[in-house]
Amino acid sequence: MLKSLRSRAAPLASSTHQIKTLEGGGFKNATLRTFDEALKLQGTWPLKPRALDILQVNLGYMCNQTCAHCHVDAAPDRKEIMGLDTLKKVLAVAKKTEVPTLDLTGGAPEMNPHFRWLIETAREEGIKEIIVRSNLTILEANASYKTLPEFFKKHKLRVISSLPHYSMKRTDKQRGEGVFSKSITALQKLNALGYGNDPELILDLVYNPSGAFLSADQAGLEKDFKTKLETLFGISFNQLFCINNLPISRFLEYLIASENYDAYMETLIESFNPATLSGVMCTNTLSVGWDGTLYDCDFNQMLELTVESSSNHIDNFNLDCLLARTIRVNQHCYGCTAGAGSSCQGSLI
């Protein structure tokens, strides 16, 4: 089984090393245009937030899977988990700001020991939409986790799950041997509870390209996924979100090791689409790290690029300050603005 960069003590486990890599090569010798230069040419620098619509909370980096492309470097060996005190502060912020959506991610967010408490409390406090980004296999991991689909249904969680392909070969290559079969079983169980069919039980899938290429048109892929999953496994779902792989963490390691890094960065830059800028997720989302630190997005979190604001932690959360901040960008941001754009909610245009 693949291990995390952290447990292998790989140089890219360091966010400093990742940023140095991203800022090197063609960006350093000015043969490639940096992302902030691209924004300046469009008259969209500095990038500013529009609103706070989504509070995306990373409940920890522990995961039962070790996917080859993971930007979190999540794995079973990661021990960073959001504690109860921090979770209480997150809920207090969510309540005070009346943020419409609480988006729970990880790692496997279900592995946080306070996961059920968090959902029950968030529902009591009236948060409109709660998203759980489930890797699906955790729902098949043991007897305790196997009751989660019912729990999801009870609290009407919106489930967003990764499934990079409708074939076992491509899915297992990216996410690990045996992942596809367990994912299909979990999806069938979710369907049996009404997910993907009942309008109140939303089940979306996420498509990440399984290699050094970008996603094709989201609508076309969604059509193919729906036809194949229905025909082969009787599975239905709501939407397919296409998310580009950003050149950080384990995907960055793969790009470098496979000698695809330069070509991939060139593709991202050539595919830069200014029309995506008004919708990039950092303009309406805040990412909360497992220790309460605030970031512009989950990717900046992994690069340890803390928000540029005096309010940079859940302890000193100040929405006005945060909405006045300048969003921190680096070369990885080209991943969200390539082609039709990419975000945790899929294509942007």
């Binding site: 392909h165 491509r170 290699g211 048109d217 193919d224």
Partner: protein, 111 residues
Amino acid sequence: MSDTYYNPKDLKNFKNISEWSAPLGEAFFSYYQKVFEEGALSAREKSLIALAVAHVVKCPYCIDAYTQDALKRGIEEEEMMEAVHAGAAIEAGATLVHAVQMMNKHDKLSL
């Protein structure tokens, strides 16, 4: 100038053909874009046809481009290879059907 006739970097410069003849170049690229849009055939089906033809005409640029396009569209390896075989079979058939001409000529000239 490259030391080889084919240079992968040339693919990115394909659009430059318009520099020497803008009306023809622009007309071609407009037509090209239109051809591969969703229509009576899906963009996915057209991508597989393009991949097969790329092999038949033995265009390394096209093979590069349409292998990437197939990956982006989630097209599986088996589908890609079957498309190439379909192209290869037509190409082989086109050669072999000429054997009828050979046979006809043979028979005409033989006692």
